[in-house]
């Protein structure tokens, strides 16, 4: 008898959730890299997953999930390497829905039910789609170094808009909404997506955990204070394997498509995109 483990993906628009799901589905189905999890049997709603997979294999931008096309309850039966069977529930929610929680301060009853049942959270952050809390002092300091004008004194001032709130603040609030209510969250995996853009040509590459501590310090403090250091792990993930469309030709030449994926932790790196999922549901220590 399989046990249902529920994993909830949290992230703003274009944070990499759907691309991750596409790559995960391929890894489970294709069995190219001996992943920790294997597909036990085909899920009922596999047509949507196969559409995502085809886009991913073609090295196209995996279609952003629009609110009207949300899949509320994708269930994927998998098997651990030790034979234990589990059904992963992986809702593929549009980032816009999650962003709306910050802007409109409301969520659906269905989402509340899912968040209350999730045992693990996958929190997605895309460094290339990341709003910083840049202060005027910071900006002026950079501008002085570049000998450029920072702020034109004749610039029109802008009123505060919730949409421009720093990414990490929005994520903290969304996570607070989950944590403030009865929940079953035992572990949180932070997925720093598009990790290849961090490592791409940089002379000193931070670990994913260091990236979170420095670039998303508020989120880092919140998670470690509220969930606990042992229950949080940060993964750098390149689910596409490169920057599209620049690297499409190289990626399309991969015979084993799963090998274009990179998953980086403090301990090392692999191609196994099931690793964050296996950890967040408690399979890995």
């Amino acid at each position: 008898m399989s046990e249902t483990r529920r994993v909830l993906a949290v992230g703003l628009p274009s944070s990499g959730k759907t691309t991750f799901l596409a790559a995960l589905w391929h890894a489970l189905r294709a069995d190219e890299i001996s992943p920790r999890l294997r597909l036990l049997r085909a899920p009922v709603d596999r047509e949507y997953l196969m559409t995502l997979e085809n886009e991913w294999l073609a090295c196209e931008q995996v279609g952003r999930t629009l609110p009207t096309a949300e899949q509320y309850d994708i269930q994927i039966p998998v098997q651990f390497s030790d034979g234990q069977a589990v059904t992963l529930t992986f809702p593929d929610l549009a980032g816009e829905t999650i962003e709306a929680q910050w802007v409109s301060r409301a969520w659906s009853s269905a989402y509340e039910a899912m968040s209350s049942e999730a045992e693990g959270l996958l929190v997605f952050v895309n460094p290339t789609r990341y709003t910083e809390a840049l202060t005027i002092v910071d900006l002026n300091a950079v501008a002085e170094e570049a000998s450029a004008l920072s702020q034109d004194p004749h610039n029109q001032t802008q009123d505060w808009r919730p949409e421009t709130t720093p990414t990490q603040v929005q994520l903290v609030e969304v996570l607070q909404f989950i944590m403030e209510r009865p929940n079953r969250v035992a572990r949180v995996a932070v997925i720093v997506s598009a990790w290849d853009t961090i490592a791409d040509g940089s002379p000193s590459v931070p670990t994913p955990a260091e990236w979170l501590r420095v670039r998303a310090a508020l989120l880092h403090q919140f998670l470690y204070s509220c969930v606990g250091q042992d229950a949080v792990r940060v993964f750098g993930v390149s689910a596409q394997g490169g920057v599209l469309p620049r690297d499409a030709a190289r990626l399309q030449d991969c015979v084993r498509a799963a090998e274009k994926v990179r998953v980086v932790t403090t301990e090392g790196q692999s191609h196994d995109i099931t690793t964050p999922v296996a950890w967040v549901v408690g399979i890995l220590p």
């Binding site: 049997r41 509320y72 809390a133 702020q151 603040v169 609030e173 607070q176 310090a217």
Partner: protein, 303 residues
Amino acid sequence: MIDEEEIDDSEATGDAVRELIYLRTGEALDADAVAALGASRPYRLIVLAGEPGCGKTTLLASIYQEFLSGPLGRFSFAGSETLVAFERRCHASRAESGHSIPETERTSGATAYLHLRLATDDFTRDVVFTDIPGEDFRLARDLSVEGSRLGYIRRADRFVLLLDGAKLSHAATRQAVVQNARMLLRGLFESGMLDTRSSVAVMFTKADLWRSQPDVRQRTAVFLDAACRRLMDDFAGCFGDFSLHEIAARPESEPPDRDALSAMLEHWLIGDTPARSPRSAPPASFLSTPYERFALFRHEGLE
């Protein structure tokens, strides 16, 4: 085969999917919301007082903004019920605002309360800060404190009176700033809103303004030294804990002094308030913390 019941349970009707549940607003709390928070868990109330423009909201915004970059001292951010309120208050100091120099919108309307939950290795503590229109204190100073809207001061774990550093650095206005502070503290003491159990701090804000100008720095320093001694003479015996400080919460051309902000939080959040403390001397370590650099003068009433 997937259990049919599981499939049925996983499907939701369109209406159920779209049924909305409204979440908390994230805006500043009112008195009722603070009371509700206090009913569920203890919190420390920090009252920031001072006349319009002295820097109360700027100080709050600066504390929050600095947490976006990392812990302050041993304090880590562990949550807030008023993130929207903090973001609004930070907006005019952010690049997105379009301002050329950092600003803070003046607080108006009713007293608002901002919330932070802070964690150290040893504990987690809820902290509620007041964000009070400066006009309330101007009225309290000039009229009857008892008739004002400042009754929550009795509940304060820490009462912090901010004095406008911009006015302190000008010869024409500095004496009025100190005199007004003395009148307000005297009024609060005589009305019983502050008493011998109270922890009171006077904070000279915008210290970067006079520190950065050599011609102003010396004269201001001399004046402040005399003002501090007078305030100590007047009030050290009135309150359980009375101290004076300088702070530059948001300098115009450089980041804030995180050590100073950390020391300030340390004073506000660590240790019992005098009303609850046992009648004994404070630990020596308390006086040898980085707070000493931060505090100009300090007096603790001991019984």
